[in-house]
Structures are given as structure tokens and as C-alpha cells.
Symmetry: C2
Subunit: 319 residues, 2 copies
């Protein structure tokens, strides 16, 4: 670890992860943070490569995200999809005009032979993002949600079916033969690696795909650095998304115990919202209580400071 504190690898899904990543980006220099993003939700739609979590990260860090909607870009227009609807096209997965431009350019850059990592770096540069954002893998891993009604590709479950079907299981197709992206591998193997931060994203479908990639769990253990996770469950609910419903349907307690049990002995510290102090929690790891609800940018920065401190890294107060 260098004098200035070493590097943090943040494992990240969409909205909740992006909020914490934004906080981290305000207190850690670009060389000290690698944001590794779930791509299990990615899918091809109208022939375009849609990467919902990468886009949420990019729009959040690039300060063009739509905070009310929770996805997509602010000041967006919908002319393409309005017309598509008139043509009888599928509009269950709404893509704004400016959002679409990103997918067109991703298609063009991938078709030119660049990897998803290279494409992501290219796009992030255009959004003025200095911190490295890397996909978990350059290869296709597809999260499939197993439900009473049959298997559903993740976005069909999440967006088209609005998470209504009862989840009986999930799997990550292609994960066994996929490699972690060069950026994630390099960060995990970095001599300067100081800690791993698991963002408050859905453990099943946002964090697990990253951990399921061959070599990632092993790389985390081999690095012998602290692993801190922020629980996405607050007051028995998920701030956003189907995490709570999935805990329940998969037979796990819908509380921080469920999160602690899920990550098991991977964690050194679980960060739990201060409102849940009274919850009985038997964890094999340390538990740290603080505010984890990130309503404002200050909340995001404050939570990032807690996490970085728990990783044992000094952060200059004036950053």
C-alpha cells in the first residue's frame, strides 16, 4: 500500500451502487478506485447492446442521470420510442433519445472490434469520468431468473414483468466460461490493493454475478485485504428494486441477518443502517452502524468515508 492509502475495488450494481460510487469518487483519487460493474443484466434489444448497470454508473458519475426516474438521463426526450409505439414496436423497455445514442455508439465501437472494457472506457471519457469504471467481464454473462412461470431473462423479469413472478432461483448463464475483465483482474492483483467494497446493490443479481466469475472470490481471498459490504436492506425493505422480495421468496430472512448469511465469511465488516441497531444480528463479521440511506450527495460522501475508514484507509479531510 502506498503512502496515500492504496486502491479500493468497489463491486457495484445499478442505482444503490452508483450512489456510493459517486461518494467514493469524491474522496478517492482516480488511481485509488476501481468500480467493477455487474453486466449480468445486459441484454440485446433491437440489436443494440444495453448495459443497464454500466449506464447507470456512467450517467451518475457523469452527472447526467435522472434522479427522479432512477434510470436513464435527465432532460431526456422520447421521440424515437413514441414513434416506435405508433409502429407497434415493443416499448416495455423505454430508451430515451439521448440514451439510445449511447447504445448506438456502443454497438458501433463493439462492431469495430473493441472489447466492452475498451468501449466503456471510451464512453466514460466522453462523459468526463476520470475514475476507472470496468465491466465485470468482457464476455457475455446473462442472469436468468427462475420463476414459477418459467425462466425469464433478467430485464424481462425486472422491467417487463415488474418483478411480479415469484422467484424460485437464478443462474448466470455463461459465467463458468467467462473471464473477469482485465481491469477487474488487474485491480484485484494490484500490490496497492487496500480493500474490497461491496456496494448496497442486490446481493443475488447485482453482486453475485461478479463474485461468481472464475477467479474473483479466489482473487479477493488471495489479496488478504478487508472486505466491507453495505447492506441493501434497511428496515426490512430494499431501498430500491426486488432484493427484499427475492430474500423472502428464496427463504432468507428479509433483514440484515439475511445479508450477513448470504455473504458469509467473505466479509470482514457489514455496514448496517443505524435505524436497524435494534435488530438481533448474529454475523460472523464485524457490524458497523451508520446512516446508509443516501438521499443527498453529502449522504453518499459520508457513507463512502465510513466505508473507506472501515477498509483501514486514510482519506484526507479536504478532498
Amino acid at each position: 500500500m502506498t503512502a496515500d492509502g492504496g486502491r479500493v475495488v468497489a463491486l457495484c450494481g445499478g442505482v444503490g451502487g452508483a450512489k456510493l460510487a459517486l461518494g467514493l469518487s469524491r474522496i478517492l483519487a482516480p488511481r485509488r478506485l476501481t468500480i467493477a460493474v455487474n453486466t449480468g443484466d445486459d441484454f440485446s434489444h433491437f440489436g443494440l447492446p444495453i448495459c443497464p448497470d454500466l449506464d447507470t454508473l456512467m450517467y451518475t458519475l457523469g452527472q447526467v442521470s435522472n434522479p427522479v426516474q432512477g434510470w436513464g438521463r435527465e432532460g431526456e426526450s422520447w421521440n424515437v420510442f413514441e414513434t416506435l409505439g405508433q409502429l407497434g414496436g415493443e416499448t416495455w423497455f423505454q430508451l430515451g433519445d439521448r440514451d439510445l445514442a449511447v447504445h448506438l455508439q456502443r454497438r458501433a465501437l463493439l462492431d469495430s472490434g473493441l472489447s466492452l472494457s475498451e468501449v466503456t472506457a471510451n464512453l466514460c471519457r466522453r462523459f468526463g469520468i476520470l475514475h476507472p469504471v470496468v465491466p465485470m467481464s468482457d464476455e457475455r454473462v446473462s442472469t436468468v431468473i427462475e420463476t414459477g412461470d418459467g425462466d425469464l431473462p433478467f430485464q424481462h423479469y425486472f422491467v417487463r414483468e415488474q418483478c411480479r413472478p415469484v422467484v424460485t432461483g437464478y443462474r448466470f448463464e455463461g459465467v463458468d466460461s467467462a473471464r473477469p475483465s482485465p481491469g477487474l483482474l488487474a485491480a484485484l492483483g494490484d500490490d496497492d490493493l487496500a480493500g474490497i467494497l461491496i456496494c448496497p446493490s442486490n446481493p443475488f443479481v447485482s453482486v453475485s454475478p461478479i463474485l461468481a466469475l472464475p477467479g474473483v472470490r479466489e482473487g479477493i481471498r488471495a489479496a488478504r485485504v478487508p472486505v466491507v459490504a453495505v447492506s441493501p436492506i434497511v428496515g426490512g425493505k430494499a431501498i430500491k428494486g426486488p432484493a427484499a422480495k427475492m430474500f423472502s421468496e428464496l427463504g432468507l430472512p428479509v433483514n440484515n441477518q439475511g445479508v450477513a448469511d448470504f455473504y458469509g465469511d467473505l466479509l470482514h465488516t457489514l455496514v448496517v443502517d443505524q435505524g436497524d441497531r435494534d435488530e438481533t444480528l448474529r454475523a460472523r463479521c464485524r457490524v458497523h452502524y451508520c446512516n446508509t440511506v443516501m438521499a443527498s450527495l453529502d449522504d453518499r460522501i459520508a457513507l463512502a468515508r465510513h466505508c473507506v475508514a472501515l477498509l483501514g484507509i486514510a482519506v484526507p479531510e479536504d478532498r
Copy 2:
């Protein structure tokens, strides 16, 4: 031929062809007209299937075309491509937001397993078009322009390079193994077929690809019906596009003689603009003079009436 006059097959490129097709659609019932459209200009861009001539036909007949621009839709917005430009994407082939919706839907419908003919029929229905518009083929035929600077895909020559390179030849890749579309084949084989009309489109790159499809020239000859072509050259120039420049660069006279020579004994009648009456023209076919410059809808209908009369078909005056 039925009592009401039989069917016309119009072979059609983009703008000029679409204008005459619009005129024809105003005087012939849907069952009496099949518009067979060049697809040699088609290409894949950002993973989307772009069919410039089919789109021009569809937008013209659907009354949503942009008459000033000569391509695309009226009342168009450009939010996607504006953003794409900011992302460093390729913007030499401009696609408006509402135009893009058509390409997205075409991609989705093709991916669902429909043929280009079926997709075109589906889209045309959405634009309220009653007359059958059929692609020349459901298989990929790609016009390549041979130039002093090397081979160029048609749209690269036409749009990106603005027709600047000197043309030394052209070819239609894939044409030898492509089949005419079911709609074109059925129309050519229809017992009710009354005549073939070659629209005032570029002979080399709009009409020739259709004629080059295996079976099309043979089908036209076997039908033993009149073939009428409207010359796209007026006053030694093309109304639009690179036809005149290509005649010159390919060593053909840039006048109606060049057009007559090009189509040779395929034609029964060449329709020439009345302003070119004084041009010396030795054609193996009949020559008919009238106004061929279609500035207004009335011009389009009037030229369509001339053509249909030359095919020997009665048109009720009150249509």
C-alpha cells in the same frame, strides 16, 4: 387482363421513383399496382438495417416524407444523432429520431424471423399504405461502387463521399444467388400483368440491381407486356443524384440517348421530357415526350397517367 385494366409493376429506386409511384397510387387501385423497390443501397449501420429506397417509398406514400431534404421524415428531430456526435460517433449518415424508430422496428421484426417483404408490408400498413410495396429481394444484395480510389459500399460513395470519387464501374454483390422477392415474382407471373414501368430512377444503381436478379429480365420478357421507362435525364442532367455524373464517367452520353442505349431492347417506350424534344435520339423503342419533371402532386399524377396510357391501360378519369 381483367376488365378494369390489369396490374402494373413499377421498378423503383428512391426519390424520383417514389414521386412517380405516388402518382400511380392516385390513379391505380391497390390490386393494380405493385411497387418493386431497389434494396441494393441497403446497409447495416449501428447494427440496424437501413433500407433507403424502401424508406423513401414508405415515407412518400405515407405522406410523412421531407420534400425539402429529399430523404427522411418531415417534422423530424435529431436528438439521438446530436448526442451521438457529442459521443464521437459517426454522423455522416444522418438518421432522425422518428426515422430511427423505423429502423429499430425493422431490426426487431427481422430478428423475430420475418422476411424483409413481411417486415416491409408490416411497416407500410402502419403508415396507412394500401398499395403493395415489395423489396426487390428478401436476400442481401449490396451495390458496390468501383472508383479510382477503390471499392465503396453504395452509401459510403453516395452519402459519406458525396459522389465525389470517379466511378469506373459497379457491381451487385450477392445478386447471383439472390431470388426476387415473392411479391415481385408473383406480380411478374400474374395473369393480369398489363405492363412494366421503369421509374425515373438511376439506371445503374437503382434499376439495374432489380433487373440483375436471376429471373427478372426473363420474367419481364416472358410476360410479353409493354415495358415503359421514364428517362431520369432531363436537359443533360439528372433531377437528383449522381446519374448524370455516372453516365459521363462510365463513357455514356449524358442524355436520353444514353438512357435508351442503357436499357436497349428491353423497352417498348422511353418517356422523355418535353424540353428534350430537340435532342437527336435514335432509340430502338418508341419515344414519348411529355413533362417528366414532377414538381407538384399534379405533375406526378399527370406523368403516371401518361405512363399508364403508354402501357395500354385505361384509367378512369375520376380516380
